[in-house]
Symmetry: C2
Subunit: 213 residues, 2 copies
């Protein structure tokens, strides 16, 4: 299997996939898609992903897969070790629930396209759009914190890295970019600190990426 | 295994889970959570799901699982036949991709809580909030239509029902509630027509639900 990841260094959904590839020790090429230059809307990218978003994972040069959680599940099925999901169905559901609290509960409400539309089409000021994003992130992280208080160990779910962690860390990175107050989420911050010490998370961090800006 | 579904008849995410339970022939009790009466924010519900949303599936009276796609994956793992995912990893990824185009790409942007916040906190009129929802639904369905043109048969992915279909049908129901113009999505509408003829979809339709309004 060969993998090429079309991504943007600061896209939180792209970072999730970079962590998964690194965690499983899978080599991959990257193709930068510069979101602030609208490269995600180019016809060449739209052919890979009609949603005009990153990440897109190209498998063996032919198959283009999009949606980060679908890609994570694919990698888990094809390369099951080291795992990113626990073995028991209820625990797997819990990891997926926590991942979705971020993936569908937070990220879509703070992504670039939505904030641009709120400003351009609905007259929000840049400050109001940031405030909209901040309140969505905060509300979602409060829910995640409650789940983490019940289920976390050193990681989001017990002491093993799961897809929940791959969503948590990039979302906290975004939270800080939007100046979200994280004092009500001490468990999330504690888990994040542990995870950022692991090579798969540290080596793929946006601040380590060398994509031209 | 016993199942109790905390749901709202018109919640599209709840409908996804009702279809899955019906598809797999699993009996379940229901507990209505009336979103327009804010019952999702009650302390009793928040203990089941700190995200204060429906659906929540209670397993054996003790374990509360939230996030509809996490619940669908759980049901698929515990009750694999009849299946809601194909067998090949790339095809499974494609079904999940299409499901996520709806789950994270559309639904979060048109859900009640977000539209209420846009009106209450950011000064949008009710018409503007509906317009925001409409444009998010339209943009997402255009992307889904492109995937369907490439991958659909009688169903979203070939001729077998998958989680993609469980997301497609409730989202089209919502699209009509928001007066989205569906003329650019003929494939989605064709697939929907086929699916609504299947008992698992028809019997769980919101219009068939008897929840008090």
């Amino acid at each position: 299997m060969s993998y090429t990841l079309h991504h943007y260094f600061r896209s939180s959904c792209s970072w999730r996939v970079r962590i998964a590839l690194a965690w499983k020790g899978l080599p991959f090429e990257v193709v930068p898609v510069h979101l602030l230059r609208d490269e995600q809307h180019a016809a060449t990218h739209r052919r890979l992903n009609p949603s005009e978003q990153v990440p897109v994972l190209i498998v063996d040069g032919t198959t283009a897969l999009a949606q980060s959680l679908a890609i994570l599940e694919y990698l888990e099925e094809v390369h099951p070790a080291p795992a990113l999901l626990p073995s028991l169905p209820v625990q797997r559901a819990r990891a997926r629930q926590m991942a979705e609290v971020v993936n569908s509960g937070i990220q879509p409400l703070q992504n670039l396209q939505v904030l641009q539309s709120l400003e351009r089409d609905f007259g929000l000021s840049a400050d109001q759009a940031r405030s909209f994003a901040r309140s969505a992130i905060s509300r979602g992280l409060v829910a995640l914190e409650a789940l983490l208080r019940e289920h976390s160990g050193t990681c989001a779910l017990g002491d093993s890295v799961s897809i929940a962690d791959l969503c948590l860390v990039p979302q906290l990175y975004n939270a800080r970019r939007f100046d979200v107050d994280l004092t009500a989420m001490p468990t999330a911050v504690r888990v994040e600190r542990h995870l950022l010490g692991l090579p798969a998370f540290a080596a793929t961090h946006p601040d380590r990426e060398t994509v031209p800006v």
